[in-house]
C-alpha cells in the first residue's frame, strides 16, 4: 500500500466509532430503565426468560414494559397487545421522517434498519447530513446495533439486580433530561420551539388518555401548528 493512502475501511471508521461512542453516551441514562424492566418482569410473575424475550422480539422499552405489566396483571392478550402497540405507535412518525434518508439505500438496509429504529437511534440519526448515504448507513447500523447489544445485556442483568437498586437515587430522571437535550439540539428555528412547547403542553393536558395515547394526538396537533405558523409567516 502506498504510504499516506486511505482505505475505504479507514474512511468509514469515522461514522462507526462516532456512532458507538454517541450510543454509549445515550445509553448510560437508559441503564436504570433497562434495570427497571428487569424488575417489572420479576414482579409480573412471568418466567424470566419469557419476559426477557420481549427484548429481542420487540426491542422497544416502553412497549415491552406495557405488555409485560398488563400480561402480569391478568389483562387479556388482545388488550395487552393493543396497549403495547399504541405505546409504540410513535414509531410511525419515525418511519415517515427517516423514509427520505432510506431512499437510495440498499434494499437489505431498508428491511433491517426499521428493526433498530428506537427513540435514541431516531434522535441520533434524524439530524445527520443527508448528502452521504454511505455515512448515514454505517452510522445508523453502528448506533442501532450498539443500542441493541446494550439493551439485550442490561435487560438480562436487570432480572437479577433491578429489584435491589434504591428508587431514591432518582436515576430515572436522566432519561427525560436526555430527551430534552436532544430536543434542544433539534430546534433551529423559532417555529420548532413553539411546536415543541405546544407538544409538551398538549401532552400534559391529555395525560389521562388511555395507554398514553395523548402524546400521539399532541404530536399530530403540534405539527399542524408548525405548518400554520409557516403559513402565517409567509
Amino acid at each position: 500500500m502506498v504510504q499516506g493512502s486511505v482505505t475505504p475501511s479507514q474512511v468509514n471508521a469515522g461514522p462507526v466509532k462516532k456512532a458507538i461512542l454517541e450510543a454509549l453516551t445515550l445509553f448510560l441514562p437508559a441503564i436504570p430503565f433497562a434495570l427497571v424492566f428487569g424488575l417489572v418482569v420479576v414482579e409480573s410473575g412471568l418466567p424470566a426468560l419469557l419476559g426477557w424475550s420481549t427484548s429481542p422480539l420487540m426491542f422497544s422499552g416502553a412497549a415491552q414494559i406495557t405488555l409485560v405489566t398488563l400480561l402480569g396483571e391478568g389483562a387479556s392478550f388482545a388488550a395487552a397487545a393493543t396497549a403495547a402497540l399504541i405505546v409504540g405507535a410513535r414509531h410511525l412518525f419515525y418511519s415517515i421522517t427517516l423514509a427520505p434518508r432510506f431512499q437510495g439505500q440498499p434494499a437489505w438496509f431498508r428491511w433491517l434498519g426499521p428493526y433498530l429504529l428506537i427513540d435514541q437511534v431516531f434522535a441520533l440519526t434524524v439530524t445527520l447530513d443527508n448528502r452521504d448515504p454511505d455515512y448515514f448507513r454505517r452510522y445508523y447500523l453502528a448506533s442501532g446495533f450498539s443500542f441493541w447489544t446494550f439493551w439485550m445485556s442490561f435487560t438480562a442483568l436487570g432480572l437479577f439486580i433491578g429489584p435491589v437498586i434504591p428508587e431514591s437515587w432518582g436515576l430515572a430522571f436522566a432519561t427525560p433530561v436526555l430527551f430534552l437535550g436532544l430536543l434542544a439540539l433539534s430546534v433551529d428555528r423559532w417555529e420548532k420551539v413553539v411546536v415543541a412547547v405546544a407538544a409538551m403542553l398538549i401532552t400534559f393536558a391529555l395525560a389521562d388518555m388511555p395507554n398514553r395515547s395523548g402524546m400521539l394526538v399532541a404530536a399530530f396537533l403540534s405539527i399542524l401548528l408548525g405548518l400554520l405558523l409557516e403559513r402565517v409567516r409567509r
Partner: protein, 103 residues
C-alpha cells in the same frame, strides 16, 4: 405458549409500524408539503415524549423544583454548547444538589 405468541405478534406488528414508510416510500419522491411536515416531527414527538416520561400512570406530572431546574439547565446548556453529554451531567448535578438541599 400463548404469551410467547402474543409477544411475537406484537413484535412483528411493531416492526411493521417502523418499516411501513421506510419500505413503501423507497422509490417515491416526497412532495414538498410532506418534507415540511417532517421537519416538525422531531421537536413534536420529542417534546411529547419528555412530558410522557415525567407523567405518572394516573396522569399527573410527577416533578418538583429539582426536576424543573434540571430540565431548564439541560435545555440551556445544550442550546449553548450543542453538547448533550455536558447538558446531561449539568442537569443531573443540579437535580441532585437541589434535591439534597430541599429534602
Amino acid at each position: 405458549m400463548t404469551v410467547l405468541l402474543t409477544i411475537a405478534v406484537v413484535g412483528l406488528l411493531g416492526y411493521c409500524m417502523r418499516a411501513v414508510f421506510i419500505v413503501s416510500l423507497a422509490k417515491h419522491a416526497f412532495p414538498p408539503l410532506a418534507l415540511r411536515v417532517l421537519e416538525y416531527v422531531a421537536p413534536a414527538v420529542m417534546g411529547a415524549l419528555v412530558i410522557t416520561m415525567l407523567t405518572g400512570a394516573e396522569g399527573t406530572l410527577v416533578i418538583g423544583v429539582p426536576e424543573v431546574a434540571g430540565l431548564l439547565v439541560a435545555a440551556g446548556v445544550v442550546a449553548r454548547t450543542r453538547n448533550v453529554g455536558i447538558g446531561l451531567i449539568s442537569a443531573m448535578a443540579v437535580f441532585w444538589i437541589l434535591r439534597s438541599v430541599i429534602s
